[in-house]
């Protein structure tokens, strides 16, 4: 008889900063919401198709801590019609895991866009509002330099199974390389880690694709799946 109940696993990981260690747990949760098991739809897919978060979480075992449950609920909330400011509070996956937290005050891209919009003269309020909506959509769907080239929409959707596997491989390798090394400071650890990450993300895998290409393609596919299911549910 095969026992396929969930099992607890204990792993130790090496992280350059406390923040990145904490965010790695969030990243795992982001992977979980997009994870499919035995051809069952993912939690995200259930929500996109039905709009029902409770239904998506119905199969969660009772052992799941309330904090994780709350985080899942937060991730499964409908996206806003305007700018995806929630992207600032998501991890952006392995490519963004070590980037120190940032938000609108640091967002040079949005601040420049909005400054130009404010400086523009519009014929009326309606045209001004329409321009703002267009601007927000452009921000949502344009690769952002501070999200390591992902669009805010790609950040919002989270990573999938392939990225989860790549992230696991990278973090395992990171621990092997840096786990026993002495560093001068936290900043030094962070810089060395980021340099390693940026080298890794462009190194082709056995299939010829780089981790960056695989991650971008998978997140784009998830966005397409979301758009399809949302359209079908209307």
């Amino acid at each position: 008889m095969v026992d396929n109940r969930p099992v607890l696993q204990l792993r130790t990981r090496w992280f350059p900063t406390r923040v990145s260690g904490e965010r790695s747990m969030l990243m795992e949760i982001e992977f979980v919401v997009n994870g499919r098991h035995q051809d069952k739809p993912s939690m995200s897919e259930i929500v996109w198709a039905t709009g029902n978060i409770k239904q998506a979480l119905a199969d969660l075992p009772p052992i799941v801590p309330p904090r994780v449950r709350r985080e899942l609920e937060r991730l499964l909330q409908p996206w806003p019609p305007g700018r995806y400011t929630g992207a600032y509070r998501r991890t952006g996956g392995i490519l963004n895991l070590f980037t120190p937290p940032w938000g609108e005050p640091q967002d040079e891209v949005w601040n420049k866009m909005i400054a130009e919009w404010r400086a523009t003269t519009f014929p009326d309020d309606q045209a001004k509002r329409a321009a703002l909506i267009e601007l927000e959509q452009r921000w949502n769907n344009t690769p952002h330099p501070f999200f390591a080239g992902l669009t805010p929409a790609q950040v919002m959707v989270g990573g999938g199974a392939q990225e989860a596997k790549l992230a696991d491989e990278f973090l395992t390798q990171l621990g092997k390389i840096f786990g026993k090394r002495a560093f001068a400071s936290e900043g030094d650890m962070l810089m060395q880690t980021l340099m390693l990450l940026r080298g890794w993300q462009v190194e082709p895998q056995p299939n010829g694709q780089t981790p960056m290409q695989i991650i971008l393609a998978e997140r784009t596919e998830l966005l397409n799946r979301r758009a399809h299911l949302l359209a079908e549910s209307k």
Partner: protein
């Protein structure tokens, strides 16, 4: 990516007795070694020599010297002997390559004075190395790039930060600017700019030809550049040479 050299490639000193100890040590060194035409015996910093000492110690070379002179002229009434002493102490910490002392001294001593893009340009790398505060450091380099637009270094540093953030197109743009501005005789910075630009070009679109040309340019400028030599070897022996 090339690691920082000179002022920014420093090691963390032991804390010993902390900030007051560092300051005492710095003052002893200043008392022994401050020697210039205006101050041949290495005596105290005075109202009649503080500007000269600051310029001689902190910026013996152009274009930094002119930039600091402009800053002093613009804020003369707010600066003076006390400011010069703090600057000389900072220079001592640079000389002994003590990140911790540099960052702490900058935070404690310079917040009372008008912001100086040149000082920020030199301190920012140490802050990054010490605390990893990417966003604060980026702002410091943006300020420096805006206020010292003919300097290559702020653009190089912004390129390096963009690379760390995974923004390869942004990094290439900044390295291009730095490459256009760097002086032919600035061997160290020039070599690093070209080496890192090559790395980014390869990371961005696997442009082997362009990457190779940049690494070779880095080696032409600095023939003993170990990382560039290694990159060139790796590049010729296998398809990729990114550090993974």
């Amino acid at each position: 990516m090339s690691k920082r050299k000179s002022r920014e490639h420093s090691t963390r000193a032991e804390a010993r007795s902390g900030y007051p100890y560092w300051i005492r040590q710095a003052d002893e060194i200043i008392a022994k070694h401050v020697v210039s035409e205006a101050n041949p015996n290495g005596a105290e910093i005075r109202p009649d020599n503080w500007q000269q000492l600051a310029l001689d110690w902190f910026t013996p070379r152009e274009p930094e010297r002119s930039a600091l002179a402009r800053y002093i002229a613009a804020h003369q009434t707010k600066l003076g002997v006390a400011w010069a002493r703090e600057l000389l102490r900072l220079e001592v910490f640079f000389q002994v390559k003590d990140d911790q002392a540099i960052v702490e001294h900058y935070a404690r001593a310079f917040r009372a004075y008008p912001r100086c893009a040149l000082i920020e340009l030199w301190v920012a790398g140490h802050i990054l190395r010490q605390s990893g505060d990417v966003w604060r450091v980026r702002q410091m380099y943006l300020n420096a790039a805006a206020e010292l637009p003919t300097f290559a270094k702020p653009f190089y540093e912004l390129g390096f930060l963009s690379y760390l953030l995974g923004d390869f197109p942004g990094a290439l743009e900044q390295f291009d600017q730095a490459a256009a501005l760097v002086a032919a005789d600035d061997v160290e910075l020039g070599a690093r700019i070209f080496y890192n630009r090559g790395l980014v070009r390869f990371a961005l679109n696997a442009d082997q030809q362009a990457a190779l040309a940049d690494v070779e340019e880095a080696l032409r400028r600095k023939p003993d550049y170990a990382q560039a030599k290694e990159a060139l070897r790796a590049f010729k022996s296998r398809a990729r040479w990114v550090p993974w």
